[in-house]
């Protein structure tokens, strides 16, 4: 993705997961050694009023947002900062979408600032900002 002609107000190409798969949440729970059963036990999620939908782990959502920003920036080496707040749950079966806008461009410093966020089935899931390096 070429960023040389980047403009304030420019929209980032959305990153979409059509339907969040609950199976990898089990693998992620094992990787993180996270005992919280909301990520994998639908008996528990049902008791909590979430139906048969486990809750996606924050680090996975963060990884998707990171991927979204670095695709726009043109590679992992173009990431400078990512700052994110966790606004709401992402559930198994949800449609997860990252969107963003360029909010500032500094050609002298060679960086751009972005406002970024993610929704899950339209509900706010992540919100924050990013700084990326511009292409030379």
């Amino acid at each position: 993705m070429v960023t040389r002609e980047i403009q304030v107000g420019q929209q980032l190409e959305p990153f979409v997961i059509d339907s969040v798969d609950p199976e990898p949440m089990k693998t992620m729970a094992a990787i993180l050694q996270d005992p919280n059963p909301i990520h994998f036990d639908t008996n528990v999620t049902r008791e909590l009023g979430l139906g048969d939908h486990p809750v996606n782990q924050g680090p996975t959502n963060l990884t998707w947002l990171t991927e979204f920003v670095q695709r726009f920036a043109g590679g992992p080496d173009r990431l400078v900062t990512l700052k994110v707040r966790f606004l709401g749950n992402v559930l198994g079966g949800d449609r997860f979408e990252c969107t963003g806008t360029v909010t500032a461009v500094d050609h002298d410093a060679g960086v751009a600032e972005l406002e970024v966020g993610a929704t899950s089935d339209g509900r706010p899931a992540l919100g924050g900002t990013a700084v990326i390096k511009l292409a030379d």
Binding site: E23, P24, T27, A30, I31
Partner: protein, 135 residues
Amino acid sequence: MTATHEFHVGQRVAPFVIESVEPDRIKTVAAILQDPTPTHLDPAVTRARGMGENLQTQGALNMTWFVEAAMRFAGGADRLVSFNVRFLDNVFAGERFECTGTVTAIDAGAARAELELMATANGRPVLGGTAVIKT
């Protein structure tokens, strides 16, 4: 608490079947075991090693199914006394895993029965062994 079971020599152990081994389960087990073996993760590696297109299961996973077959027949986890298993061949994602067996001996005095068990993957022998259960 399960009641005392009536077993007889030659009795068949009800088959325990996994219709199609799921690759996602293999990956989760790899994470649980912190097992770096790439044939449990990446089909490109199984392909490169001439093992085919599908992920290899962990021995621990195959063994867990073997134990499950014995426990179900015995009537509960508390009724399994011991087991012994040999790993004969690999099991792969997508295969039909089946564990069957027979009661080979009864010791009425000790209230024990011995089983011979065998598991196949797509009909190919993959595990063989024995188990001792309470009668």
